[in-house]
Amino acid sequence: MYDVPLRTPERPGRLGRRPRRPGRLMASMVGATVVRKEDPALLTGRGRFVDDIQLPGTAYLAYVRSPHAHATITSIDSTEAAGMPGVLGVWSGDDLQGLPNCRSIPGMERPCLAPGTVRFVGEPVVVVVATDRYRAADAAAAVVVDYEPLPALCTIEQAMAAGAAPIVPGTASNVVMDQPLTEDDAEAELAAAPHRSTLRIRNQRLAAVPIEPGGCVATWEGGTLTLYATVQAPHPVRNELAVMFGLPQHQTRVVAPDVGGGFGAKASFYPEFILTAELSRRLSRPIKYIETRSENLVSMTHGRAQVQDLDIGYDDEGRLLALRVAIVQDVGAWPDPTGTGLPTLTVFMSGGCYKIGKIAASFRSVATNTTPIAAYRGAGRPEAAFLIERVIDLVADELGLDPVDVRRRNYVQPEEMPFATQWPGIIYDESDYPGLLDALLSHLDYDGLKAEAAQRRDDPSRPLLGIGFSTFVEMGGFGPSPLFEQFGYIGGWESSTVRMNPDGSVVISVGTSPHGQGHETAFAQIASDALGGVPMERITVLHGDTQTVQEGIGTMGSRGIPVCGPAVQKSSDGVRRKLIRIAAHMLEASEDDIQQDGETFSVLGTPGSEVSLAEVALTAYKPHKLPEGMDIGLQVMEYYEPTNLSYPSGAHACVVEVDRQTGRVTIVRYVAVDDCGTVINPLTARGQVEGGLAQGIAQALLEEVVYDADGQPITSTLVDYAVPGAPDIPAMETHHFETKTSFNPLGAKGLGESGATAGPQAVVNAVVDALSHLGVRNLDMPMTPFKIWTAMRAAQQEIDQEATT
């Protein structure tokens, strides 16, 4: 499917090559710990999130959602609702014939309102608009919908069973995609291996739960549609809305204001984008929709939801000779283009940091009567890292080897980088996996911990101790364009415009659309350096508005720094070249002799001959004072197309205690060493790692979206869905190990998804290690106390039984 012609870098080892910076004297801002430019507004209640946007005359949209997982709609009575005070209208799918569908795989597009049949609990059936949010909710509650229930197919087993009715209209089966990714199944290699094991992994369904739920406001002014929406990628939403409404793109404006977290789920396209736009057009007033958390937990796309069947062939030393990966991806009731692509990314990364003789892979994407699945922090790569890191520990356990030794024996070596995996175009950039492991071990007294764990096993008065490792590699820096096109984006590049004002201050607009990552600060750091030391406080970074920002793609796939960073650098370089030229002209010196010290230009070896940045900047706007032939102004726009994906990696360790009586896990230590290449800002880098780890640790111990046998979600509020609180997450120790990538000029690999990718298996490996003497080989996430207690008890009973026979 993704047969991507990616370019290999010309040669390895030219790491982090940067353009020449003549005569720059200031200390580098890249790499400096800098507090964020974003914070003062957010800390004083002056942020502007979508529900804070209050346009005159705004009306509120509310949904009537399906209470059934699968049912035929037999009647809809909205008479009472339509007559309630403040109600401006009530519409069902039938009332909105001709409305465009949400984007998906061609032929499987999702209608905005359920068309005669509902396919998951929470699917919108009827939409109500009223003058305030309370009245809209009242009216939605007064709509009476009758249903004839259909069999609910809520598990992949049910959906794939013989005779199961297809859920998605127009499909012949619930297996909506069935894809072998290799020519054979590696049976010969597996059969020839000295040892062979199998493992089934369930990577459970998760909810992204950004603390700001989904929402949008649509308004029309003249012929221009404006949608304010809490999204990660305003330009792609604009492109889609323009097609759906038959508008030119210049009359379709999408604004992502402050966005309260996204984690991948706000990169999907939601029915309310179309419905608020259409109903705003019909009612000639702004329409706002803000989902409640209970709606968010059934409406916003979920993530993960893979079952993987693994067959592993290995030798006596634990070297991996062959691996077969068969993935079943639950895609929910309406296949999302990202959701169906997730297993491809999992397969690409299924070899992890290791050289494996042969990997055979296939996947099936299966529709079920559940909330659609799409990206969630890591999107396909955490599922890969989890599987291969569990495989390594399983092999170590089977052979009685130390999992650290098994890792070392299988690593791709630093001198082999860039390393072409068996997957076309998937080429790992510069990394040092053994070095990362060494760095990790330098922070751990591993031998001491192992001795302690052994002692604890024989001391029933103390909790069991386990040590788990996760040495991972994932993908960052999405594009390049040939790959990113296949996820529905027009390209995989990113853009930046740097404009220096006549007073020497700087406004930068970028095509990424951050939602907590700190781009305003990081890009200002990059620009400050590239502009020769313009102070951070003299730089403003804008983003998220398709009408004022040049073309852009958005923020996802750990692409902000590795893809947009070089665009910022290139465009800043362009402005700096102009500054130097103007300064040289003003000082009647050669460009090569111009030195810049922040906001002062001087001539090398000519004391007193200097001109301020503001004077140079002002001159740029006075054509009669410019060098012959130079254009007016100081504005440069650049696009940057990455040559390839980048491959952030790391080595993490988790030390846990397991309570023998209750099965409760306590994380005693969590140590992370990450290689994201160039670190722009250690403060925000730490925030990315720790935040991702919290999600990874929560996947291991707490979180799961659960449906009952009838397809009712039983985790549809924050009472039931276990987002961790402060007491649930340990203090973490984070370190960096910098191997710059040669795949982009900044040398940065991206970091946003590393924690979520690394965390789960570190915790699971630690808990399985703590219980391995009982014969426990595997545990499904989330490892609740009850699940662990059950496993411990079953294992102990088996031991006791063996002792008596």
Partner: protein
């Protein structure tokens, strides 16, 4: 049914007529335009809507405006004094205690409420004290450090202190 209410919000007296069922968070956001207080759930779990009400941190999504009649409310907009962020706000900035910023107003108010009750909490007490506030971005450790920073740099700050003193003088704290 409608009710006449009088509140003191960030030091300013407000008089309004509100519906019985209106939540305080909607009064603050929609009527007063104080949009710094956020809504993140519908089950009182997330804490994004936390404000100080008569000196106590409360979730303004679980208080009716009518029930708040006569109270003194401090929101995130009122934490700074004389244009100077409070030590808690500054601590979050110095220690990167926020990323997307959506949970942040509630975190700041809960942290301020905690420091009013326990002026020098250790990190476990901070974690327990902020248990009712969810953050999906930071992983909490940097929030814990932010609150510790505030403890070392003057505590709750002048605005929250005088808010709490008023509540104490009225016998409410």
């Amino acid at each position: 049914m409608r009710h006449d209410v009088t509140l003191r919000v960030n030091g300013v007296q407000t008089d309004d007529t509100v519906e019985s069922r209106q939540l305080l968070v909607h009064y603050l956001r929609d009527t007063l335009g104080l949009t710094g207080t956020h809504v993140g759930c519908d089950s009182s779990n997330c804490g994004a809507c936390t404000v100080l009400l008569d000196g106590l941190a409360v979730k303004s999504c679980t208080v009716f405006t009518a029930a708040a009649d006569g109270t003194d409310v401090l929101t995130v907009e009122g934490l700074a004094s004389d244009g100077e962020m409070s030590p808690v706000q500054e601590g979050f900035r110095q220690c990167h205690g926020l990323q997307c910023g959506y949970c942040t107003p509630g975190m700041l108010m809960s942290a301020t409420g905690l420091l009013l009750d326990v002026p020098e909490p250790d990190s476990d007490e901070i974690r327990t004290g902020l248990e009712g506030n969810l953050c999906r971005c930071t992983g909490y450790q940097m929030i814990v450090e932010s609150v510790s920073w505030a403890v070392e740099h003057g505590g709750v700050g002048a605005a929250a202190r005088s808010h709490a003193d008023r509540a104490a003088a009225a016998g409410l704290r």
